[in-house]
């Protein structure tokens, strides 16, 4: 029924359907990586801050809560502040993070009892520890949750009055100085304490961005590859072929308009 040169709708529809599926998969995976890459894997925006109790309970693993922007109510406890050094460098300066215990109000923990949340309130240069003052009277904090680091030893030796020294941001270490129960993650306060430097945005995010954007482009390139092959296939096989194969087609770049292609084959076939 099909004369040479007429369109083979069945196979074309099949290839187009398969292509659409592949393009959909590659396109959406690329778009997803792109959004991860450009918005950051961990949303750190005060705009969508949620109450702490929604994402993290005291004394339980932080898993999903890390990176979330949260609000919390309570008051800073009067216990010693942690000065966490460990050789970290911020803006080219050896820095010491200042972490204070924040007693989360009983109605804000989700467990009906108060709990202690370690709050990173800012940093000071390692040679200027005297800048650490006393806690603010804030009762509402906003910030993002960051995961704990490994355990280390803490000491009050050599620490300014009202503080102790540690090498890592570890609630397990802070628990030796502060009231239990403790949260297993830390809050990085959006607003630094008076006299302290603000904590810069977390470092790993830039790496994550780069990787995700690269993956996005790779997915789209994959899609383009399949698009090319499908177009090629339809061009080659989309019409009912004459008896002989057109192997002497001069170059793949020559447009194979159906009429000229079939005519050329009829004349040039062996």
């Amino acid at each position: 029924m099909s004369a040479p040169g007429s369109l083979r709708w069945g196979p074309i529809a099949g290839v187009v359907a398969a292509l659409l599926v592949v393009l959909g998969v590659c396109g959406s995976l690329g778009a997803w990586q792109w959004s991860v890459g450009t918005h950051g894997g961990e949303p750190v925006e005060a705009a969508d801050a949620v109450p702490l109790a929604d994402v993290l309970a005291p004394a339980s693993p932080a898993e999903g809560g890390v990176g979330k922007s949260v609000t919390v109510s309570g008051a800073f406890a009067l216990a010693d502040a942690a000065l966490v050094g460990g050789g970290r460098v911020i803006d080219g300066t050896e820095a010491v993070l200042v972490v204070r215990p924040f007693t989360v109000a009983a109605d804000a923990t989700g467990t009906e009892e108060t709990a202690t949340l370690p709050v990173v309130v800012g940093w000071v240069p390692a040679d200027d520890l005297s800048r650490v003052g006393s806690p603010s009277g804030a009762t509402e904090l906003t910030g993002y949750l960051r995961g704990s680091e490994g355990a280390s030893v803490s000491t009050t030796e050599g620490a300014p009055a009202g503080t102790f020294l540690a090498d890592t941001l570890s609630p397990a270490v802070f628990a030796q100085h502060w009231d239990s129960p403790m949260y297993s993650a830390l809050l990085v306060a959006d607003t630094p304490e008076d006299g302290l430097n603000p904590i810069p945005a977390p470092e790993p995010e830039t790496e994550l961005n780069f990787r995700s954007i690269v993956y996005a482009f790779e997915w789209w390139l994959f899609g383009a590859f399949f698009l090319f092959v499908a177009v090629r296939w339809i061009r080659d096989n989309g019409r009912v072929a004459p008896e002989t194969a057109d192997r002497d087609e001069p170059s793949p770049d020559v447009p194979t308009d159906a009429a000229t292609a079939s005519a050329a084959v009829k004349e040039g076939s062996p």
Binding site: R211, V214, Y215, E218, L221, F225, F228, V229, R232, W233, R247, D248, P252, G268, P270
Partner: protein
């Protein structure tokens, strides 16, 4: 008029394909070796291996894209079937496959060129 039964494959396209097949295949083997650390009992290697593996996987991603371009060019010139294209496509994903195909394609094309 008798058409040349062996379509024109330019030496450049063949060379580019061969080089990329070997580079992609070698990188892929390295990436797969790196994945062995996910086996139970090898967790301790995570910290030392992960940064390198991350870099290698990134490089493999880019190299694979270049490999696909060389594959397309050679495939277009040689006018192979779609099965062959698919096998060449898989060559950058399945370890050692690219070496096998590269060998076969080289064997197939080289004598033909001498005969032509």
């Amino acid at each position: 008029m008798t058409p040349d039964p062996r379509p024109a494959v330019t030496p450049g396209a063949l060379t580019r394909y061969k080089v990329m097949a070997i580079v992609t295949g070698s990188l892929l083997i390295l990436v797969f070796l790196g994945m062995l650390r996910y086996l139970p009992g090898l967790d301790s290697l995570e910290a030392s291996l992960d940064p390198t593996m991350f870099l290698l996987a990134q490089i493999h991603g880019f190299v694979y894209m270049v490999y696909l371009v060389t594959v397309l060019q050679l495939w277009l010139q040689a006018k192979w079937g779609y099965g062959r294209l698919f096998t060449m496509f898989l060559g950058g994903i399945i370890p050692f496959l690219s070496f096998v195909i590269e060998r076969r394609i080289a064997d197939e094309l080289d004598p033909a060129k001498e005969a032509a």
